[in-house]
Point group: C2
Chain length 339, copies 2
């Protein structure tokens, strides 16, 4: 069994991330990571008739660019793992429609990109694929429309709410070549601490992150200081603070200075009106596939634990009085390797 | 590379299906497979306050029964692959919420169960899991409400429309033990032949089935007569006839007498008002996990190609004038083995 402890998978062949690409919207392009992204769309319509079609365009941009950067043709991708938050994951479907790549659709809400990286790494590690692709996307306008209020309504948002990132990120994973490597990973369990406020996803998701990160550290007999960075996907300011508390109380673990969150990196809360930070599948996908990948490649980061959280409710389950079940998937990466 | 031809994966270690369970609703329990199902709910409410909660109950029934039949405890399942058609796949999430099984959410519309079997088999084959679970579900009432009209509206349905199966099916796959084996599989590509009528999913999905089955036969250098059964998930009467036509014209292949469809098996169209047959993720999941698994185990079926198709649109994409992109994933099974 290629497992360690209770929940940790070992990728003995250490699949390589050959390339990554992130395509984002206007607001993301005005944030602190502007110079990291491969493509900043001038407006969030992206030349499309609807927000949903615009999100599919983001998917196409990120996927085709990542494949191109890896020096490959779409026909050389053995399998792609992709998902998004739209009903029936249509951003992924319509984004991939013309590409003729074998596609395994994933659903993990905002944890999707971490799950996709895990899956792509496992397929390559096990010898089932030479090249696998991981992708995820979200769009502020398609998400607001579907999960909250029509934009035209101009509703006030709670201070605990996060802003869904308009963006897509994609990585190509291969069995050979140089680049950061995916060495281990974990598939999360559903955690539901009875948080039911859909305007406070960070609080709902933090216990899932604590469970996956806490068990991962136990399985691997590591401590936060062993990593250059422990990175969550989109807990935002509320969730990130809670994660520290829960890890301290449940696992006696102090995240110290190695912890950061993609949702806190992508926007500047002082200059941008984003409340508790960024969120959405595209948040971690676009930040990981650009900034994080670049720092891993350059050796600035040598060991990273990336844990993506997802809130698995729907607007309907919230209306039906349900709490918000959450999940967190993780991959561990090593950087700075030369060919 | 554990691959054959363009798209076919080889599972050298031939993972075993240790158990399967199917739980269905009242109408399914009045159909020709009534005596096959493990659990027939007296009414489709399943003691739940909403149709969505009822579908989650179906998930729990099938999953816990399949694990129990395998003589296992939920904690012994290394990973589960599950999905459904509800927005944000909430039947799976709420069905699995209390089980504490590592959960990788899938989205493939009605192809989900075939994709879940593929994934579970690959994880076991590659040595990443000792026991993996595959599950999918659907519910007539939650699907009608979400995709079509409220039941109370009493709308007339087109003769090409299918009836969404109220049911869930689950299988436990293991590395050791006796039972039918999953020996090969294929991840599908999106096929879109510009069919845009959501009341005729069979026509939309047939070309995807033809592509996956046709390429599979080419990759494996087999012909339909090599199989005891080539089984699709829910093409229904319209789609099944079209599949025969498209395979004939595009691949010069005649399915002959080995072909059947779960959507044509689960209801009796003469006695039950189901139009073109059954559909939904739960259709193939419940039929495969009971009737098909039993016949494979008994050796009545010795070689089966199971190809599940999914229509990847949403009500919104249809309203936005999009056609219906479809996909088809497949697994090949061998039966009749003794310990």
């Amino acid at each position: 069994m290629k497992k360690l402890g209770k929940y940790t998978y070992i990728f003995e062949n250490a699949p390589v991330i050959l390339s990554g690409a992130g395509s984002v919207g206007k607001t993301e392009g005005e944030g602190p990571l502007a110079y990291e992204f491969d493509f900043i769309n001038e407006n969030d319509g992206i030349g499309s008739a609807t927000w949903e079609k615009a999100e599919a365009s983001l998917v196409r941009q990120a996927v085709t660019l990542a494949i191109d950067k890896a020096g490959l043709h779409p026909s050389e991708i053995d399998v792609a793992f992709a998902g998004d938050l739209l009903n029936q994951c249509t951003a992924s479907t319509f984004g991939f429609r013309e590409l003729q790549i074998p596609l395994a659709g994933l659903f993990g809400a905002c944890s999707t990109f971490a799950l996709a990286l895990f899956m792509a790494a496992l397929f390559v590690d096990g010898g089932y694929a030479s090249h696998a692709l991981a992708e995820a996307s979200s769009h502020f306008c398609s998400a607001e429309k579907q999960f909250r209020m029509p934009l035209e309504y101009g509703g006030q948002r709670s201070q605990t709410a996060q802003r869904t990132v308009t963006g897509a990120g994609a990585c190509v994973i291969g069995s050979r070549g140089s680049g950061p490597r995916i060495v281990r990973g974990s598939v999360g369990r559903i955690t539901d601490m009875d948080v039911s406020d859909p305007a406070n996803m960070g609080a709902a998701m933090a216990p899932a992150a604590a469970s996956t990160i806490g068990e991962y550290l136990l399985d691997t007999k590591t401590v936060p200081e062993d990593y250059d960075l422990i990175l969550t996907g989109d807990l935002g300011s509320v969730g990130a603070a809670l994660l520290r508390d829960v890890l301290k109380s449940d696992y006696d673990t102090d995240l110290g200075r190695v912890y950061d969150d993609c949702g806190l990196m992508i926007f500047d809360p002082k200059k941008q009106d984003v409340h508790a930070g960024g969120s959405g599948c595209g948040c971690s996908a676009s930040v990981f596939s650009t900034r994080i990948l670049r720092e891993l490649t350059a050796g600035k980061l040598r060991r990273v634990l990336f844990a993506g959280t997802g809130a698995l409710m729907s607007p309907l389950t919230s209306l039906q009085g349900e709490s918000i079940p959450c999940i967190c998937h993780a991959v561990e990466l090593t950087g700075g390797e030369r060919r």
